[in-house]
Symmetry: C2
Subunit: 212 residues, 2 copies
């Protein structure tokens, strides 16, 4: 029985995603990707109009499952703080489990030209980012929602992006890769902050001048 076109597409994409993640868009040749996918370079153009379309489809697909998870964490009528907690736990779990997508985006940020960056954002991040920003508005109306959303992304993504370097920093321990521990830390930091407890007594609060 002939394989359905979508399974063939899926097979190609699943082979090609790690390749893009490893080497980046520019350094992956269509010939190379073809070998990986088990077809010839020319056959690619039967499934995708060009290299960029192949790449976008790969990025989109790499994010598809994730986006469902994230959206699920954001939905529902739980209190906003609870939704935040769900979001960050799922996010950390995804990032720790499989670093390929993280690497893919890491590369895109570094090497992507403006046009492709815009395409990737529109195809993959725009809607999810807007959703998280909505949660931020609900959660902390007196914060700039864009900056707060960026901060949430930074706290989670960068911690795992930098994993390869983190190993060599003084004070690192194996549990710092554990998504439950990392997520709990981030949630607590976001909700409580590190400032002196306001119900506490001896608060040596800020009394300094501005720097510079």
């Amino acid at each position: 029985m002939r394989p359905t076109p979508s399974t063939c597409r899926n097979r190609i994409l699943s082979k090609v995603i790690p390749l893009f993640a490893e080497k980046g868009y520019n350094r992956v040749t269509m010939r190379e990707a073809a070998v990986e996918a088990g077809i010839t370079a020319g056959s690619f153009y039967h499934h995708f109009p060009g290299k960029q379309a192949l790449y976008l489809a790969a990025v989109k697909r790499a994010f598809a499952g994730r986006a469902r998870d994230i959206r699920a964490a954001l939905a529902g009528d739980a209190p906003p703080a609870e939704r935040l907690r769900n979001l960050i736990h799922r996010f950390c779990l995804q990032l720790s489990r499989d670093p390929v997508f993280t690497r893919l985006i890491h590369r895109e940020i570094l090497d992507g030209d403006q046009g492709r960056l815009q395409l990737v954002v529109d195809a993959v991040f725009r809607d999810v980012f807007a959703d998280v920003m909505g949660l931020c508005r609900e959660l902390a109306p007196d914060f700039d929602p864009f900056l707060l959303c960026m901060s949430i992304v930074s706290l989670t993504v960068h911690h795992y992006q930098i994993a390869g370097m983190r190993k060599f920093l003084p004070g690192n321990r194996p549990e710092h890769d554990n998504p439950d521990i990392v997520a709990a830390h981030i949630v607590r930091l976001l909700i409580e902050g590190i400032g002196p407890r306001r119900d506490g007594a001896g608060t040596e609060s800020f009394q300094g001048d501005l720097p510079l």
Copy 2:
């Protein structure tokens, strides 16, 4: 004063740093770097024992001025919260002013093999990281100092690392690149958190409570 024999070393490094930042270690050849520095490939080996030493010297030098700044922000006997504030303001200022070093490290994280990562960490980050961790211990003894330190780095570094993509996200505004605004946001988030104020009073920004 002696006519510093390292003048030409400095000249070489200043030419070579942007090259490594742009293309990464592996994709910069000694010949290419030589052309950029105005000498030939063989001549490099009078100044540096090899490519890796050249690279390490470049990374070290790119970080030298910064490390002084960071250390200055951490030193002194100001209250810890004010030192944190100084640290983050200077960090954001550096990151926004000149993206070359950010890019250099971004690349190293992505492409660096284990050996080189360890060398870079030992030569550049280890001590500064330990200092910031010291501040974290002082500031919030009930947090994991390593995770808190990572969070501080993530909040600042990642915001500027992702600048190229941030432009295309919904809700972005020019002021989100302004280091003063970004730093103020990060400091406030770290200190206060987004949770409900425990004294139930007003929710004005952190800056409003400062005696400026």
